[in-house]
Symmetry: C2
Subunit: 256 residues, 2 copies
Amino acid sequence: MGLSKNKVKWITSLQIKKFRQKFHKFLVEGDKIVQELLLDGRWTVEELYGLPEWLDQHAGLIRNRSIDVVEVSAGDLEKLSAMQAPQQVIAVVDMRVLPRLDDLLRSDLSLYLDGIQDPGNLGAILRIADWFGVHHVFLSPETVEVFNPKVIQASMGAFLRVCTEVCDLEAVKSAFPGLRVLGADLHGENVFAVNGLTPGTMVVIGNEGGGISPSCQGLLEGRLTIPKQEGAGTESLNAAVATGIILAALRNKFVG
Amino acid sequence: MGLSKNKVKWITSLQIKKFRQKFHKFLVEGDKIVQELLLDGRWTVEELYGLPEWLDQHAGLIRNRSIDVVEVSAGDLEKLSAMQAPQQVIAVVDMRVLPRLDDLLRSDLSLYLDGIQDPGNLGAILRIADWFGVHHVFLSPETVEVFNPKVIQASMGAFLRVCTEVCDLEAVKSAFPGLRVLGADLHGENVFAVNGLTPGTMVVIGNEGGGISPSCQGLLEGRLTIPKQEGAGTESLNAAVATGIILAALRNKFVG
């Protein structure tokens, strides 16, 4: 018999920011990432739409929880999916923010994303943060929303483990007066030559086209640069690539 | 009066691989990247479709060259464009490969891409290669085509400066017997601790989901790994991000 039109409308409405914010829920799609979500006890999964085989196979993860589980056909999943190749399962999840921000000053490194626009970039940055053990990623109000389905999918589950919060940089600095805020920039100190990193260092990554905004520029205490080969014509690196290189440099400079 | 239907059909046909390969031509779109293309003397620009203002403003770059220049309206450009936001100008370019491969053994670092699928990733990798002065990027036959419009645009002009060639890894190794081939892998040597890099080192980057293929695995002389923070849940980094970190590490380890 399939899903009702109203159900389809409800779920697909969560592909749109306005409705995610109204209902405080978001979508997570795909075998592996939904398994991770169910294993991670901190999130409230409210509804689960899956192929019968998938639900059977993962019954152990679902049972004894107050999840509204619905068996659907592949055709129904295609109607619900925000992805090009529909997956076996979609979850509707409550949009609670993890309250771990008090740890910020004790953590050595954190990120502030100043106007990242591309969902694929934000997802990749969350993966990078998770890979290098950076637990706090702040987003400027202009940055793409973390619960955008493309961000969730590109993060490959990293959104489960990295704490994100939307906040002005000025407000972050007021709340954590010990922070040392460094911007990723084309004209700063060689990131591979930085010395004496202290806990409470925050790296600011700017917008893909325009870099760090003027209002954030004024709040920086230093600038980090990825050295370019002499004579290279390329003017900048992709924002996620630059984030990866900077975190790798700051994390691994004491290793080699 | 606008462009004829046949003209529109001809240009948009070059958005498709089959026709690019049949006619040996590809498209380059956008103000900045077309300017770079015209300034770089090594490419044959055959046709140019631009807004009158753009063509006026860049008359100096166009004059005295045998380019078929056509003034078009914004509406026409929209019909021709492969991009979400149409640009001011589109060029049809001859698909000649730059013959600089004989330099390979003298260059310190090169890349081999083993099955990269995402055009955005390939474009970002060309930017990274250009940034770090890596002039040769080989592509396995399974890798996305470099003349795909999304690759060209994501490369931000780096395709003009980085020499690419489609080739089996085995054939590259036979042609350049002095090459040292290292794979990017989850279980190799810490890339930040690598010592004694010699000219003629080639780094192999695997497919986004599956990593390095079995046939290439057998041709590796070593493996490089980006160390992960203990306890991190993320299983891998985006392929372009990993490429950026590896090239940065190999380039900059002697700096800090």
